[in-house]
Structure formats: C-alpha cells, structure tokens
C-alpha cells in the first residue's frame, strides 16, 4: 500500500465512516432502520407487478410506515426548515423511484422517473451543486426521458401488454428484493459510526466555521460557483473532457450505424425505385 493511501485512511474524517464491529442481534432488533428496511422491502415486493389481492393498498401503507421509520432514524440536520426541505425532496425522489419500478405501464414509469430526476436535481441544488442540478434537469428530464417516451410510443403503440403485468416469476422477484434490502441494510450498518458522530452535539462555533469554509472563494457555496466548476473541469480534468467528447462522438456514430443497419443506401433505393 502506498504511503498516500495510508495517510488518507488514517485521516479522521475517513475513519469516521466505517463501523468497528458487528452489532449484536439484540441491537439489530431494537434498531428502527432494520424494521424500516424489512417493511420497505415487503412493500416493494407487494407493489411490483403481480396478482396479489389488495397488493397495492397494502404495499403503499407498508411503504409509508417503512419510510417514516427510516427517516426517523436519520440524524437531524439541526434546523427544522432545512430538515423539512430535505425530507420533502427525499420523499419525492424515493417515492417516484419506487413508483417507476412498480408502474404497470411503461409510459407511467417514464413519467415517474422524470419526477424522480426532478427530486434528485432538487437534492443537488440543496447540497450546493447548482450547475449539476440544472444539467440533470436539462439532460435527464429534458432529453433522456423524452427519448425514452418516443421509443415507448414507437415500439409499443398497443399500450398495455402482458409482460408489463408479470415479472420473471416469484423466485427472481423475491431474491432481488432481498438482495436490495441486504444492500441497504449493510450500508446502514457500516455507516453506524458516522451516525453516532452526526448525532453528537456540535458547538455553534464549529457549525459557523464549516459554513464559512463552504462560502470562501473556491468553496462549494461561494457565489462564483460556475467559475470554480469551469476552472476545475478545464484544468485538472481536461483530458477527461476530451475523452468524454470522443465517447459522445463514438456513441453518436454507433447509434446511427445501428439504426440504419441492413438498409441499402438512399441512392441505391432511388435507382431501384426508378428501374
């Protein structure tokens, strides 16, 4: 291991992230997040396309309870206005994301996905990433989702179809929900130390110092945000910008090549038509 990695790992802020030991089963059973993930997984399982009686109602109620339990276990931001705005944005993002994967109609899926993207853009704005918030709305909600809707309407004019109302069967469904629940659970468990540190009382002076550092020239919340984004993008990441441009060009050529695949050239078509 390099010296750099070692010093980085020993840095206090990085060491805070990972919990030291595994929690006992009693701790797990008393944890609100555990029950929240259990209820949320069950809710998604019930809401996914299937033929369970009252699946939607039951899944919705369980999902709301699970989301409330989970949010109650997160450390507070300090200010109730900040907290309310964050909860609203997180609710829009996650609720719309859950609706995306549970909608029977792909058109509704795409529209819910656009709402989820708008929630994500709000989260970006809230965290001081103004340019990325705007770029997400323009690129995702403005271009990608519209392209998706175009393709849905081109490829599936009949609307409701069988395969949207069923899944691959109960076994893949159950196990993918289980995998995702275990993923979120492990993440929550590993971030235990971070949560303990976040719930410890902080002096107002430290909070003010952090806010001041964010607003300094070069900080994320400084008013010269775009200038800073440009500076870092076109100095340190210049080669990556060139590579990203090349990638976009390659994708463009690839998409056109795929779309006209197997068709004769236009001149040949005209010659054949005139013959």
């Amino acid at each position: 291991m390099s010296h750099w990695l070692l010093t980085e790992t020993l840095h206090l802020s990085e060491a805070l992230l990972l919990a030291e030991g595994l929690p006992g089963w009693r701790e797990v059973l008393l944890c609100r997040s555990f029950w929240a993930i259990l209820l949320g997984g069950l809710a998604v399982w019930l809401l996914l396309p299937n033929r369970i009686a009252y699946g939607k109602t039951l899944g919705g109620v369980l999902g709301i309870i699970g989301a409330g339990l989970f949010a109650a276990d997160w450390p507070l931001l300090g200010n109730w206005t900040d907290q309310g705005v964050f909860w609203l944005l997180a609710l829009i993002t996650i609720g719309a994301a859950a609706s995306t994967i549970c909608s029977r109609s792909p058109v509704y899926s795409a529209i819910w996905f656009a709402l989820s993207i708008l929630g994500t853009a709000g989260l970006f704005f809230y965290n001081g990433a103004q340019f990325l918030g705007v770029a997400t709305v323009v690129v995702y909600a403005g271009a990608i989702v519209v392209t998706f809707l175009f393709v849905i309407m081109l490829a599936q004019p009949a609307g409701h179809s069988d395969y949207d109302r069923i899944t691959w069967g109960w076994f893949p469904k159950t196990f993918s929900v289980l995998t995702a629940a275990v993923f979120v659970g492990l993440l929550t468990m590993l971030l235990g130390n971070l949560k303990t540190a976040a719930e410890a009382p902080v002096e107002p002076a430290a909070l003010a110092a952090a806010a001041e550092r964010l607003e300094q020239p070069g900080g994320v919340l400084n008013s010269a945000h775009m200038a800073n984004v440009g500076k870092h993008l076109f100095t340190e990441h210049l080669i990556s910008v060139e590579l990203a441009g090349t990638l976009l060009l390659a994708a463009l050529v690839g998409a056109v090549a795929m779309a006209i695949q197997g068709k004769p050239r236009l001149a040949t078509q005209i010659e054949e038509a005139l013959r």
Binding site: V44, F86, A90, A97, T100, I144, S161, W168, L247
Partner: protein, 167 residues
Amino acid sequence: MNELSLLYNYLAVGGILFALGLIGFLVRRNMIVMFLCAEMMLQGVSVSLIGFGRYHGSLAAAGIASAGQAEWSQAAGPWGGQMLVIFIITVAACEAGIAMALVLMLARRSGSLDAAFWQDLREEGQPAFVDQEVPEERTEDRVWPVLTPAGVRPESDPDQLLHRPRV
C-alpha cells in the same frame, strides 16, 4: 447545518435509489423500464458523490492554497465529486443513445419490448423460461383516456363526410 448529518442523509438516499434501481432492473421485463432502472442506479451514485463533495468542502479551506501541487490537489478535493458526476451524466447520455437505438432495433424485429423474447441467447442446456401465469387483461386496463369535448360541435356537411374532396 450539521454537515455530518447531511452526509449521512445523502448517503442513505443514494443507497436507497441504487437499491430500487437494482430491484427494477432484475425484476421488470420491459426493456425500456430496465434501462430506466439502470439510469436510476447512476442517479443514486451521483447523489452520494454530491454529498461527499459538500462534506469535503466543509472540512478543508478550498481553493485558497495555490503554491505547490499537493496543496492544489487538496484544494480540488471538494470539487472532485461534482466533476465525477458531470462525467457520469455524459456517460449516461451516451448509454441512453446507444440503448435506445438497440431497443428500437430489437423491438422492430420481435414486435414487442419483452426481454424474454430474446431468451434464445441463453446457454446451451439451460431450460427455457416459461411464464407460469399470464394475467388476463382486466376491464379497467382496457379503458383509455378520453378528451372532454369542449366548445360547440362544428357543423359538418354530410356529403363531405362521405367523400374526400381531394386525395
């Protein structure tokens, strides 16, 4: 604002978004919904990266140090997350373009967006996937949205309805 709490909350939201995208990708059969779910996983990662960037910005005095390479890279710390998200968005746009061309070609050949149509690509010796239950279309699924009539119905010539004046 408590920056540690903010970081925790953003990591949790990012993790949940990633998990929901994972479920959707594995469970849904519509190829377009599968790609939407892939984009959702990318969004989850982006949310986490933005949270990390903000947290690093609150830790270090950024951008003031200009002498020396080490200080320069330290000053760039808070912006690393946002730079990475810019490239994630670029790659996602490329992916969406290619994926849409592919899905359109596949849908033109098979006539549907069902991923199970292409199960001939499975390995030799694997049993074929057969649907256990295909639900019947319910009556409420057959109802299509209708536009409410607005204004006065225009007078129409019954002769003109029967033949078109020009072709």
